[in-house]
């Protein structure tokens, strides 16, 4: 109850202050142009206060807090300083600041800036390299952000065609604003760890490689139309089987062999790996592996950086060694190698993968093909993951030495 009364009192007090201001026999500045007269909340969202101040303070050019947090106002007419102090006082007090407002000489009124900004921003933001437009209260200008100096000329062209004074606009070269990208998004250049699709299946891109036959990426043999044998599987990244997401074609998936080291009744290979040739239009980062999250075992799929392959392990991993993997389902997981060079039967098949390494770390459906590596910056490539337990706490990978034994020499960084 008391709270309601208090709120009502505040409202009355604020309306009273505004009324007092309006009682002052000072003229409200006329609009400089028809569009300035139509000062309404614009694309920046909510310049309602500025619109009110524009009506009540002739020559008002913007209100903001400076680097030290001091209330500051731009005025084109410094003779309006006293009026500005009175009008702005409630807002300043509401922000918990001292009542004193700094006054700066402005070149343009807020209404002018608003009109120019409204006129320019749709065309400017449609230009390649445009990042943002801002009615910049703190600089008494319209500020336009562009990715590079190369975009400045086109912005100036828009300003000229729109008859916006060049001196009213600041053009800054800024970093582009990037959306959060995950392992399941379209990423170019491609890196290891990204989601790939073929037919009705999803897997993970293992690593990029240059091969004597051309630019390639490596994923699992079971991530092809048929495990063992080359059928020209078409790969897409990340999901849609459309031309703009097409990345490459399976070109090498050795057949599984019987006899020799392979147990009777089984068929074997030393790696669950296949090689796909990149489409010429697709850019890729040789040695790059997506870093999902800022730490392992968080479940994050957001790409926060890149691991760079700097070496390859020459044989099997050592039991107890800590390794990582990055896959489209469980992201960046880390754990220790628990078994080295294990002949591993594949669930639901008569396939045995010879001399594989097991790791106690998280895995999930869709992680097939994930790059496995040691280190967290310049990393050593260990191989690619191909399977795991149903509980998702142990995975198995094919060592990169086994992969090259079957696919031929690969340059991976």
């Amino acid at each position: 109850m008391n709270r309601v009364i208090a709120v009502r009192l505040l409202v009355f007090a604020f309306v009273g202050l505004l009324a007092a201001c309006q009682d002052t026999p000072e003229p409200v500045a006329p609009a400089e142009s028809p569009e300035e007269a139509a000062l309404v909340p614009g694309p920046q969202g909510g310049p309602t206060d500025a619109a009110v101040f524009s009506r009540l303070i002739p020559g008002f050019g913007g209100y903001f807090l400076d680097e030290q947090g001091r209330p500051t106002v731009y005025l084109t007419d410094l003779a309006q300083a006293g009026r500005a102090q009175r009008v702005l006082a409630p807002a300043v007090l509401q922000q918990g600041r001292g009542a004193a407002v700094q006054v700066r000489q402005g070149k343009f009124t807020y209404r002018q800036l608003h009109g120019w900004h409204t006129r320019a921003f749709p065309e400017v933001l449609s230009l390649p390299g445009a990042v943002f437009t801002d009615l910049d209260e703190a600089r008494n200008r319209v500020t336009i952000g562009v990715e590079s100096r190369g975009a400045v000329g086109s912005v100036e062209g828009v300003l000229a065609r729109s008859r916006i004074p060049r001196e009213a606009v600041r053009i800054e070269v800024v970093e582009p604003i990037r959306l959060m990208v995950t392992l399941r998004d379209k990423v170019r250049p491609t890196v290891g760890g990204l989601q790939i699709r073929f037919s009705q299946y999803l897997c993970t891109l293992g690593f990029n490689a240059t091969h004597s036959a051309g630019n390639s990426f490596i994923t699992n043999s079971h991530c092809t139309e048929r495990q063992g044998g080359t059928e020209g599987t078409l790969y897409y990244q990340p999901l849609n089987q459309t031309a703009d997401e097409f990345i490459g074609t399976e070109v090498d998936d050795p057949v599984y062999f019987r006899g020799g080291a392979c147990p009777r009744g089984k068929k074997c290979r030393y790696s669950d790996s296949s090689r796909a040739a990149y489409d010429a239009s697709v850019s890729f980062d040789l040695g790059g592996i997506a870093q999902a999250g800022t730490a392992p075992n968080t479940g994050s799929l957001t790409i926060d950086g890149t691991f760079n392959i700097a070496a390859e392990l020459s044989g099997n991993g050592t039991v107890g060694a800590v390794v990582n993997k990055v896959g489209r389902t469980t992201g960046w997981t880390q754990g220790t190698i628990t078994r080295s060079c294990v002949n591993t039967g594949v669930s639901g098949s008569n396939i045995v993968q010879l001399c594989q390494d097991w790791v106690d770390a998280g895995v999930g459906s869709g992680d097939s093909g994930s790059p496995v590596f040691a280190g967290t910056s310049n990393v050593t490539l260990y191989g690619i993951l191909w399977g795991g337990t149903s509980s998702g706490d142990t995975f198995v990978y094919s060592p990169v030495a086994n992969i090259e034994r079957e696919l031929g020499a690969l340059a991976t960084f």
Partner: protein, 177 residues
């Protein structure tokens, strides 16, 4: 004579793009504790998370010792729209767990299996069902025959979510021969 436990499970499905994704889970009955007290296990239990997907676990309620036990997991789209599922494996991986009355799991279908971690996209049309079945030979994972008594059976269907879809438990009584 069969006990049929109908679970409407809508959690833990693939997070890939599709026409229709199941909504977030709502209520759940039944339970997923392997060690559930058999006195509390219903002959049939329906869990409703929504109206898009049913996972039905079927098994006989009573068999003779040594008699093969056929267990079925049926996934059905009961909603009006196509439903996209993300499942583990080229051969869809699914698990059954059989536990004694004291909760000790005596047989797990995927025990010790190393499963290819490929994600299979399956779309179920309205009314369409996917049936997964296996037969338990009443032996433990160590190959020993189990004796007469009360058992519970639970079904699991891994997806690309951290937790699999779960169905059950249902009760199984093995009687002496």
């Amino acid at each position: 004579m069969h006990t049929r436990v109908v679970l409407v499970l809508l959690s833990g499905l693939a997070s890939v793009a599709g026409d229709c994704r199941p909504p977030a889970p709502g209520t759940q009955s039944g339970g997923d504790a392997v060690a559930a007290d058999s006195a509390t296990i219903p002959d049939s239990a329906v869990t409703s998370y929504g109206d898009s997907l049913q996972v039905v676990l079927s098994a006989p309620t009573r068999v003779q010792v040594g008699e093969p036990v056929r267990i079925t997991l049926r996934v059905r789209n009961v909603g009006p729209k196509r439903l996209d599922l993300g499942l583990l494996g080229r051969e869809i991986a699914f698990d059954f767990l059989v536990a004694r009355k004291d909760g000790v799991v005596v047989w797990r279908r995927l025990e010790g299996e190393m499963i290819p971690a490929i994600l299979q996209l399956r779309t179920l049309a309205p009314g369409e069902a996917l049936e997964l079945a296996d037969v338990w030979d009443q032996r433990t994972n160590q190959g020993e025959r189990v004796g007469p008594g009360e058992y519970t059976i639970r079904g699991e269907l891994p997806t690309d979510e951290p937790e699999p879809l779960r169905a059950g438990p249902v009760r199984l009584t093995i009687t002496g021969g």
